[in-house]
């Protein structure tokens, strides 16, 4: 058999035949995730007329986007799904108690290397950080997956990023992925599976790899992946819900594009409005006044992110003119931050801490922007109106850059502000 890429191998395994880029295969799903939009899935699922879910063990449901319910409509949506879960006796339901889907599924050990995972959320690519092939789908096709356990998939070509060199202390995974998005453009990796390899990835925590794979979607990728190693194993220890086998690209497998980048000396990066690929080094942006700063989301709401922010803010104050909103990505993160004193330190510095969830990321509640306001956030999208008024602006950056900016009241270079 010819050498195969990671994407080919996963889709060959799940479709039962050798899969080549461009082929359309019918693949068996290992895990299917939905959040609030399970209500939409349910509507199509009923139309299909299936009697039950193909495999209730493989479906994970939770609420994270609008929690606690921010409107009566949202509450009704929650209720519909909750009733369905009770009726069917679904085993993997976290209601609104655990946090953001893309954080909770790995934490709870649902995500395993080599799996084929689909989710009704575009940032489902996050699970690639643990070596899964993982991608976002629409609500109607999720209904078909619920009914049959199968979905059509086009086997993607692969782009491989060799990330060489060494990041300077304060520069993080977020800066790396923003830099790549700036280079490739918002559709630069359309349909592709993006593989992240090399010393920078080897040195990165699972948390950082999640940030990378999460935002691979913002350059159009169908999936992003970091191959399992020692760190992956450590993360999975005590969590994994089952046995697993790593899947990696074969040596010599044909990939469409290979890019070599030396990231030594990379500056913290910022994406300015209104497109994720408008990326510049922070030093070109310092001095832009801000009204709000947000640390959280499935991109950067994990322990290491809160820690990076706290290191900068420790014993110092958020600028009088700035609202700093901190949203832990999950209950686990929240508890860790509380127990370790990170949370109280952030609150003493002037942060507003909310319950774990999506928070203001999608512009539904918990910190919307007024016309003319500017926000710097660790989230992943800065489209017009994403966080409130269409006349507001969102800048995307790392937790360290956001913390430094919150302190100064304007976009600031965390290397200047220092811990």
């Amino acid at each position: 058999m010819a050498a195969m890429t990671f994407a080919q191998k996963v889709l060959s395994r799940t479709s039962g035949k050798e899969a080549f880029p461009g082929d359309i295969v019918s693949a068996k799903i290992d895990l299917a995730m939905s959040h609030e939009n399970a209500a939409l899935v349910l509507r199509s699922f009923k139309e299909i007329g299936a009697k039950q879910l193909w495999d209730p063990e493989k479906v994970v449901l939770l609420f994270d986007h609008r929690i606690p319910a921010n409107t009566t409509k949202a509450a009704e949506g929650h209720q519909t799904v909750r009733n369905f879960v009770r009726q069917e006796g679904l085993p993997n339901f976290y209601d609104m108690k655990e946090g953001i889907c893309h954080q909770v599924l790995p934490e709870k050990g649902h995500v395993l290397p080599g799996m084929l995972i689909v989710g009704t959320d575009s940032h489902t690519t996050t699970y690639g950080a643990l070596g899964a092939f993982s991608t976002g789908i629409g609500a109607t096709e999720m209904a078909a997956a619920w009914a049959t356990g199968e979905l059509w998939m086009k086997v993607p070509q692969t782009f491989r990023f060799h990330l060489n060199g060494k990041l300077d202390g304060i520069t993080s995974a977020k800066d790396v992925i923003l830099h790549l998005i700036g280079k490739m453009g918002a559709d630069g990796c359309d349909y592709r599976c993006t593989e992240f390899v090399g010393p920078v990835v080897d040195a990165m925590s699972v948390s950082g790899r999640m940030t990378m794979c999460n935002m691979s979607m913002e350059m159009g990728a169908k999936a992003g992946v970091c191959f399992p190693d020692q760190r992956t194993e450590e993360y999975l220890k005590g969590r994994a819900k089952g046995p697993w086998q790593p899947i990696t690209s074969d040596k010599g497998a044909e990939v469409e594009k290979e890019l070599d980048l030396d990231l030594t000396g990379l500056s913290p990066q910022v994406a300015y409005p209104h497109s994720v690929d408008n990326v510049k080094a922070v030093e070109e942006m310092v001095g832009i006044p801000i009204d709000q700063a947000v640390i959280g989301s499935c991109t950067n709401g994990r322990a290491e992110d809160l820690l990076a922010a706290e290191r900068i803010l420790h014993g110092r104050k958020v600028a009088e003119s700035v609202r700093l909103i901190v949203v832990p990505a999950s209950k686990e993160v929240y508890l860790w931050a509380a127990d370790s004193g990170i949370l109280s330190s952030l609150v003493r510095s002037g942060a507003i801490v909310t319950n774990p969830g999506c928070g203001p990321c999608l512009g539904a509640h918990q910190g919307l922007l007024a016309p003319g306001e500017r926000c710097i956030a660790t989230t992943n999208r800065n489209f017009k109106g994403r966080m409130g008024s269409p006349e507001s602006e969102v800048y995307l950056a790392s937790p360290a850059t956001v913390a430094a900016s919150a302190m100064k009241g304007e976009i600031a270079d965390p290397r200047e502000v220092g811990p």
Binding site: I137, A143, D190, G220
Partner: protein
């Protein structure tokens, strides 16, 4: 398939195809009334059944909202032709029964021209000029989903 051509540029995103403010109501007819509103106010008013959208690259980028292809389909659109599509839009379109064709046809058509498309054979023709262009037809598997009106109908067959 035959219809009048509507032309648009690159990166037509799901927010302009169906603005977020209309998403509270899933009724496709309601969505159709606001299709393309933020990019072309004449569209929803003047579109007729079978019309064809010819656009630039990365059509349907942005959120995973399925209401975007639904709004176009219920507005009457017969097919969207673009050199590239955002991945989730492409999937959603086929799954709700809206044909999508990967082809750059912008040179060949002016707004209002009549286009003929044969999905199975992979040919698109400008009726007035007689010019034609070939494209890679969709695999049978996806054509079958389209013919049955989408993935729900296609899947429902298995449960009847």
């Amino acid at each position: 398939m035959k219809g009048k051509v509507w032309k648009y540029g690159d990166h037509v995103n799901t927010d302009v195809i169906i603005p977020g403010r209309y998403l509270d109501d899933y009724d496709p007819k309601h969505l159709a009334r606001h299709a393309m509103e933020d990019i072309d106010v004449t569209f929803a008013k003047d579109v007729s059944y079978g019309d064809i959208i010819v656009a630039g690259r990365n059509f349907g980028c942005g959120s995973s909202r399925e209401q975007a292809p639904l709004a176009l389909k219920f507005a009457g659109v017969g097919a969207v032709v673009a050199p590239s599509f955002a991945r989730i839009f492409y999937r959603n379109a086929i799954n709700i029964g809206l044909p999508v064709i990967e082809l750059d046809a912008r040179e060949m058509f002016n707004k209002g021209d009549t286009a003929l498309i044969n999905l199975e054979k992979g040919i698109m023709v400008n009726e007035a000029s007689g010019k034609s262009v070939k494209f890679e037809p969709l695999p049978d598997f996806l054509l079958a989903i389209l013919k049955e009106g989408g993935l729900v109908a296609h899947t429902a067959k298995r449960f009847r």
